[in-house]
């Protein structure tokens, strides 16, 4: 049953990825000019029509669009995403350089956000009407209205410029040895911004579902039978965490969205910064590759979340509803 269900998820993920690749290919295909014009660029006047046609043939641009897509996808599956129009280096190399940096940021953010929000949400949800409960509600609305880059600018103003405690940009100290401590030191500000802008809504979500569970019959019955408050908490958490994990899954793309802005602000050389750069210089091969790889990473994350759901929700394991 699980195998069948997981198989279905894998197939769905594959379909999603095919659509993503389709989108990124045709988006770039719709762009004005084609790779050939980008190639001969300023020499357009001096070339004869025959020469232009030869270049187009060499690029395969005389073939039907679907055929071009097929070729591109076939190559992409083998890890060949073409060459950067500006740097001339293979796109896959550029992406693989950047990917770990983004993952470091996002995985740490995700870790801190889930730990903090589960703790806060549980505390607040169990004590309805308390100061923490109301405070968290206000914080979650306020934090979801703060643009992360503005928060980043404020932090830079306070912690980097005024107090001089933390670096405002880069990933390593230029003179340093580039060790782990140095990396973490540079990560403090971007990480804090990402965590603050996400933790509120997550905690609020858990808080709400803890409240719903807290009012349900099984909890009341357990209380009436004198089950210890500790055990009740664990019961509530186990049930409330299931929709929460699902919500984390739905929100994962927005972590990548948030990292684009934060990476650019703090000059963190990850995928997000690369994306913005390649839009500015219109480096389409890199842009296509970056979209594709973000799609792949998100689909993998969603798959991990699915597996986590099976571990946490016995109903799924026993082949109940999906």
């Amino acid at each position: 049953m699980i195998a069948k269900w997981l198989g279905k998820r894998v197939i769905m993920g594959t379909i999603v990825l095919i659509i993503v690749s389709f989108l990124s290919f045709f988006m770039m295909h719709a762009a004005p000019g084609n790779p050939a014009t980008a190639y001969y660029g300023g020499n357009a006047q001096t070339l004869t029509t025959g020469e232009k046609e030869r270049i187009e043939q060499a690029f395969g641009l005389d073939k039907p669009v679907l055929f071009q897509y097929g070729t591109w996808l076939g190559e992409a599956l083998q890890g060949n995403l073409g060459y950067s129009a500006k740097e001339g280096r293979p796109v896959s190399t550029i992406l693989l350089e950047r990917l770990p940096n983004t993952l470091q940021l996002i995985v740490l953010t995700l870790f801190l956000v889930t730990i903090t929000s589960i703790w806060l949400g549980l505390q607040a949800g169990m004590k309805e009407g308390s100061l923490l409960d109301r405070g968290l509600s206000i914080f979650s609305i306020a934090s979801s209205a703060i643009p992360p880059f503005w928060l980043g600018i404020l932090f830079i103003m306070v912690f980097s410029i005024t107090l001089g405690w933390l670096p405002s940009s880069g990933m390593n100290d230029v003179r340093g040895d580039g060790g782990l401590v140095d990396r973490l030191y540079h990560m403090v500000l971007p990480l804090t911004v990402l965590v603050i802008s996400h933790v509120g809504i997550f905690a609020r979500f858990l808080q709400d579902s803890v409240k719903v569970e807290n009012h349900s019959y099984y909890v009341q019955v357990a209380r009436a039978n004198g089950v210890s408050e500790r055990e009740i908490r664990s019961m509530i958490l186990r049930n409330a965490v299931i929709p929460y994990i699902n919500y984390v899954g739905v929100t994962i793309p927005s972590f990548f969205g948030g990292s684009i802005v934060v990476e650019t602000l703090f000059s963190w050389s990850g995928l997000g910064q690369l994306l913005v750069k390649s839009v500015m210089v219109k480096d389409f091969p890199v842009l296509m590759g970056a979209i594709l790889i973000i799609g792949v990473v998100v689909v993998i994350c969603l798959f991990i979340i699915d597996v986590l759901m099976i571990c946490l929700n016995p109903r799924l394991r026993r082949g109940g509803f999906v």
């Binding site: 503005w150 969205g257 913005v276 389409f284 970056a290 998100v298």
Partner: protein, 269 residues
């Protein structure tokens, strides 16, 4: 335990105030927003320039008021567009169901997998340009959640007795779609549109901040923060503080208003 619905009067008034000041910004602005004054470069907030001046001696307050017009205009146009697309897409998917629904939902899932900011960025790369074009791009990429909500509402409503009855009496399809189904979705659509509006402000501001939104010469809240990155180095804190504060308060108003309506209705986003 539903609390009685209270209208968030304070926030509605505040939002209305923001809207009116931006609409009449050209009359209200104390200075011409693009007028440079080389004697007044990087002046901290003072009695003449309430929020200080920028690197060209332009009045920050005037630029903020005018800049709000660009941001809010883009947000409104894009939300209208995205609602229309979302209603049509979700409506078709929800009403017809079956294979059509399955295909349309897989496509929607693919869209939701790519962070929306990435899609907008890619489209900006292809056709960067005017304020209108940017509103279009954001509208075309902002309908996913609306479509989902409309779809689930349609699926819920179409099984209800009054719709079944209408079908039995051979009511024309368009009447069922618009008169019976769509009309009952309006509260849910309203709520999701409010949140979309906040999201659209967010997106516009983020794009302009990244330097790929509206042309940097146009004053908008995002572009002001984009230039503020350099201003911080010379200690011009007011350049970084005030535009963000405007954005924050506006989005906060919209979120709080949306939140109240969401609690009142049964829709869950």
């Amino acid at each position: 335990m539903r609390t009685q619905r209270k209208y968030p009067l304070f926030w509605i008034v505040l939002l209305a105030l923001i809207f009116t000041t931006t609409i009449f910004s050209s009359l209200l602005a104390p200075f011409e927003p693009n007028a440079m004054d080389m004697n007044q470069i990087y002046k901290a907030p003072n009695a003449t320039h309430l929020l200080g001046t920028d690197q060209l001696g332009r009045d920050v307050l005037s630029r903020l008021l005018v800049g709000g017009k660009v941001t809010l205009f883009i947000a409104i146009i894009s939300v209208v567009l995205s609602s229309i697309i979302g209603i049509i897409y979700g409506g078709i998917s929800g009403y017809f169901g079956g294979a059509i629904d399955a295909v349309m939902m897989r496509i929607l899932e693919a869209f939701l997998t790519i962070p929306s900011l990435v899609i907008v960025l890619a489209l900006q790369a292809i056709m960067q340009g005017s304020v209108w074009r940017m509103a279009m791009i954001m509208g075309v990429t902002g309908w996913f959640v609306t479509a989902r909500i409309v779809r689930s509402e349609f699926i819920r409503l179409k099984e209800l007795e009054f719709v079944q009855m209408a079908k039995m009496f051979r009511t024309p399809l368009w009447k069922i779609l618009f008169g019976h189904l769509l009309r009952n979705c309006i509260p849910a659509i309203f709520v999701v549109t409010i949140f979309n509006f906040a999201g659209a402000i967010f997106t516009e501001v983020s794009l302009s901040f990244l330097g790929i939104g509206v042309p940097p010469a146009t004053p908008s809240w995002g572009t002001m923060l984009y230039t503020a990155q350099n201003d911080l180095l010379v200690g011009a804190w007011w350049m970084g503080l005030f535009p963000g504060l405007f954005i924050f308060v506006t989005i906060l108003c919209v979120q709080v208003i949306g939140g109240t309506f969401k609690q009142g209705g049964r829709s869950h986003i």
